[in-house]
């Protein structure tokens, strides 16, 4: 199995007063598969943290734990210095953490504005009927302020393009007035122009300084464009934690390549000794 000594694994981050979120020694297994071994990270107020890692490195699992969708096997989390144990997605959201999932969590049969307000519906008083007019108006305003062009917001999202769907998922979360936003591959399925709009939006949110963002990205260039700091997950651990100003695409690439070579040599060595090590763990990919 991977020896922790070869990669510089940062220990639990030193408590800092401006950390809005601290994650300490989180581990998560799915049956025989270890998704996260021991992950610690921290997020400062107003910061945009880029999360990198190969497929199956555990990024999405980590996001799902922070967002309250799954529970960790061990480890602790702190929100504004207070212990943070989300019981559900709703609970996490109530505490100010909201998420755009990789699978977008959009409901094909529902309209754009119903999707944007799912679980945050505006209702009339005293009879709790849906206030569709207000939701339409607010959804339109939210999309306009983000600069995303959705011609009709009363059509079912099934009729929209992949990029438009992504934009709606992002807009939904941004519109939720959360303190911390988790974005799981927000630029997947997006055209260049739409992707640039989302990155612009992230930059604008950063300028305003009210929200802190953790963003999973695959494209290293986009990480350097959008993020203040980058964390690299490998085999369920944080393998690198540096401000983007102090690292480079080359360094990150080298870590990945080194890891790949090391893993291959290890496997080779194990095979030579006739010891069959179980293949390196890959958590199930949520489709």
């Amino acid at each position: 199995m991977a020896d922790a000594g070869t990669a510089p694994v940062p220990s639990a981050p030193a408590p800092a007063s401006d950390d809005v979120l601290r994650v300490e020694h989180i581990a998560k297994r799915f049956g025989p598969v270890t998704a996260l071994q021991d992950v610690s990270l921290h997020l400062k107020k107003g910061e945009v943290l880029g999360l990198l890692g190969d497929n199956g490195a555990g990024k999405s699992t980590l996001i799902k734990i922070i967002s309250g969708f799954q529970k960790p096997d061990s480890g602790r989390m702190f929100l504004d210095g207070q212990p943070y144990e989300p019981k559900s997605v709703d609970d996490a959201r109530a505490k100010g953490i909201d998420t755009v999932y990789q699978d977008l969590a959009l409901i094909d049969e529902l309209s754009v504005y119903h999707n944007m307000f799912l679980r945050r519906e505006r209702v009339l008083r005293p009879v709790p009927l849906l206030n569709n007019r207000e939701m339409k108006r607010e959804a339109r305003r939210a999309l306009d302020s983000i600069g995303i062009n959705i011609p009709r917001i009363d059509v079912a999202v099934a009729r929209l393009s992949g990029g438009q769907r992504q934009a709606i998922a992002v807009a939904r979360t941004v519109n939720s007035a959360s303190d911390i936003i988790l974005l799981d591959e927000p630029l997947a399925a997006m055209g260049v122009k739409e992707g640039a709009q989302i990155l612009d939006l992230v930059a604008r949110l950063k300028e305003e300084g009210n929200v802190s963002i953790i963003m999973i990205l695959h494209n290293y260039v986009q990480v350097f464009e959008a993020c203040d700091r980058v964390n690299m997950i490998q085999e369920g651990r944080i393998a690198l934690d540096k401000p983007t100003s102090e690292t480079s695409v080359e360094e990150i690439t080298n870590i990945v390549v080194d890891e790949y070579r090391r893993a291959r040599e290890e496997e080779h060595a194990n095979n030579a000794h006739g010891e069959h090590e179980p293949p390196s763990a890959e958590p199930p990919q949520q489709s």
Partner: protein
């Protein structure tokens, strides 16, 4: 398929501004039909009207008040059962146990009333039993992950069996549905002829009048329940979450929708409505028949009404009003065929063909409405 979507999608596509503008001033019959077909219940509305017109032309008695009254018991119970089934089917599940609730609730009602609880409390407690069964259905499906088909099939047999055990298979008179009779001159319409005969007529109590015994009692219940549930489905969070779960269960959960709660709630609704209809029918017919064949037929007809009304078995889409129209269609079909003098042996045959035709139309219309982007 993209071509189909473009043709019958709502609103003109931007590429056809000129000709569309000309045509809009003079809508053709085809356009009206397309507009209607783009409604979720569109195809069945058209089919139902066609069926009604056909029987109105071909029989002399179809368009009479008396026939409307004979039509009511065909479709009012189906409309209520279908309304409950729609809530389960939009989730992408199915509830077969409504047949058992339909049979079981009157027997519980009878047992409680003979134990001296009184009519209305007995009805309420019988529906509480249905609530429990619905909750068990929902819990098996949403918590244990057992398929709803299997769960509710098991419940169907279990509670039909329990009904037979408790009732010893013996029919009994429905409590509260007793009649006292007086003699009067009564008009009858027999084969279109108005005949006046001195006859004993039945007077029924207030309880019976409200709970299915009155001529329009079930119709009023059906219309009120359907309107109420359609409003719930379209204009409340409950309805929104039901559609959300049926369309994308994982996505709904990620968005924070309480999937188990909504699933259990919908199964409870379905079971309670089935129990209620069972009691209505027991009061209307004045006897409680512990025989599963009737409940099994009405269970399948209720699902047929929902499906004909445009509710997808796969979930994510459906309307309560559609189930009502589906029930009306089935009622008109059966009533009309009987009036036409069709051999009773052919009834099921024609009903079956009608269901297949209506379903095929729904698949076509459903594709056209959703457009090309969802497969």
């Amino acid at each position: 398929m993209a071509g189909v979507a473009q043709e019958s999608g709502r609103g003109p596509s931007p590429g056809q501004e000129g000709p569309a503008g000309l045509r809009r001033s003079l809508p053709t019959g085809r356009q009206v039909l397309q507009r209607l077909l783009s409604l979720r219940e569109g195809s069945i509305i058209v089919v139902t009207i066609v069926a009604a017109v056909y029987f109105a032309i071909n029989t002399s008695t179809f368009l009479t008040g008396a026939n409307f009254k004979t039509l009511l018991p065909y479709f009012a119970p189906l409309a209520i059962l279908g309304a409950g089934e729609v809530f389960v089917m939009i989730l992408g599940e199915i509830d077969l146990s409504i047949g058992a609730m339909y049979m079981f609730a009157p027997i519980v009602f009878y047992k409680l009333d003979t134990a001296g609880l009184g009519l209305v409390p007995s009805v309420i407690l019988a529906l509480v039993v249905c609530t429990a069964v619905g909750a068990i259905n929902g819990a098996f499906v949403s918590i244990l992950g057992v398929s709803s088909f299997v769960t509710t099939l098991g419940m169907l047999f279990t509670f039909e069996g329990l009904s037979l055990i408790i009732s010893h298979g013996t029919p009994v008179a429905t409590p509260g549905a007793q009649v006292h009779q007086t003699t009067a001159q009564v008009h009858h319409i027999v084969n279109g002829h108005d005949i006046v005969l001195p006859e004993k007529i039945n007077h029924i109590g207030t309880f019976a009048k409200i709970f299915g015994g009155g001529v329009y009692s079930e119709l009023i219940w059906a219309v009120v329940i359907v309107i109420l549930l359609q409003v719930v489905l379209t204009f409340t969070r409950w309805g929104l979450y039901t559609v959300a779960i049926g369309s994308n269960k994982i996505g709904a959960a990620e968005a924070g929708v309480k999937v188990r709660l909504v699933t259990i709630r919908n199964f409870v609704l379905c079971a309670v409505l089935a129990g209620l209809v069972g009691i209505f029918e027991a009061v209307r017919s004045q006897t409680i028949q512990p025989d599963p064949s009737g409940p099994n037929k009405i269970l399948l007809l209720a699902i047929a009404a929902a499906v004909i009304g445009g509710t997808l078995l796969a979930g994510g889409s459906g309307t309560v009003v559609g189930a009502l129209i589906g029930a009306l269609f089935l009622g008109i079909l059966e009533d009309g065929l009987i009036l036409q003098g069709v051999n009773a042996n052919y009834l099921l045959f024609y009903t079956g063909i009608a269901i297949v035709v209506a379903m095929t139309a729904n698949v076509y219309v459903g594709r056209a409405r959703r457009g090309h982007s969802s497969g």
